[in-house]
Subunit: 202 residues, 2 copies
């Protein structure tokens, strides 16, 4: 039985409520397939939304704070953020323009993000940087306590009368696909292309 995260008033999916999901398994699968999040923060009522790389480690998201340097000036005990992750799976082309949609999987996480200071925690989030690198990189941590997913999958949903319209309808799948790796010009040709680059898969 997957662990459910009780939705709050802020994370409950209201519109198209049947698309909401609140169990960690579903939410973490989406997060682990993505690379880029959109981190939102507000200064004097003005929101800023910044794309940045992120990783989930356990029950938290770690993301680059350097991109969000405006935030760090105001940090203190943590600042309110919204981190949103979206995977686009297809165009849903309905008979009616109004029912055009996308298939997607998204996660919205709310809470207070704090700067990661502990070297071991930074190490884990970044893999294995050297000491200088550790100091130069600001990493923010957001615990996944107030979080929900929203998922649309499957076929077109037209209104009943529209099914008679003589229009093509269906789904065009979309996938973020890796191409052949481009070796850096200064990379010794004797070094073989590793499998993680040659057959990149998430």
């Amino acid at each position: 039985m997957p662990e459910a995260i009780p939705p709050t008033e802020r994370t409950r999916v209201v519109r198209e409520a049947h698309r909401g999901a609140y169990d960690r398994e579903t939410i973490y699968k989406i997060l682990d397939e993505a690379y880029v999040c959109h981190a939102g923060f507000a200064i004097d009522g003005q929101p800023f939304v910044i794309p940045t790389l992120f990783a989930r480690v356990g029950d938290a998201i770690y993301f680059h704070g350097s991109a969000a340097s405006r935030m760090l000036r105001n940090v203190g005990e943590g600042i309110s953020v919204c981190v949103t992750v979206t995977l686009t799976d297809g165009f849903v082309l309905a008979r009616s323009v109004f029912n055009h949609s996308m298939n997607y999987r998204s996660v919205v996480a709310l809470g207070k993000a704090t700067i990661v200071d502990a070297p071991e925690e930074k190490l884990e989030a970044l893999s294995q940087p050297n000491e200088k690198e550790l100091k130069a990189t600001s990493i923010l941590r957001l615990p996944l306590t107030e979080v929900s997913a929203k998922i649309r999958s499957g076929p077109v949903e037209d209104d009943a009368p529209d099914y008679a319209l003589p229009v093509w309808a269906g789904v065009i799948p979309l996938a973020l696909t890796p191409g052949a790796p481009i070796r850096d010009e200064r990379c010794d040709p004797a070094i073989r292309t590793p499998a993680y680059a040659a057959q990149y898969r998430r």
Copy 2:
């Protein structure tokens, strides 16, 4: 000579300033290649970031307000938003983890979004919905007056000493690629798959 949009303190790219771009041609090309934006708004200092479909028409972005229904309650003369659009072009795998990066093109647009009421304007933004559909769909409009782009392209940039490391380095290109269209089960087989679905290209 492409028209430049003077950056404000809020849209000037500070970190990696050479990646900033401020001309409408560059900015609009990024917007026109994307489908999904991340719209940010704040309520009592808490940011919310919602993925939604959007389109650029002239010097404005139109996006679905229904997804941002929380916003609409507080609207009035418009609410402060940040609309961010990100295209991911590749993983940049450096010799040092610290220099791992992504190739990407992003646009950040700030300003006040308003609800579109004029039927003609809605029509243009939505293509051609019927009357009922027009009424049911909230569309928000954000004029592109305070906007900038940030672009990272090209090869790995390692620190000088790291080039000697015996590690593979290079770029894995990424592209959002369409698959073969899946015809809706209730779509008359006599209706041919249109070119825009069979050979989808943005």
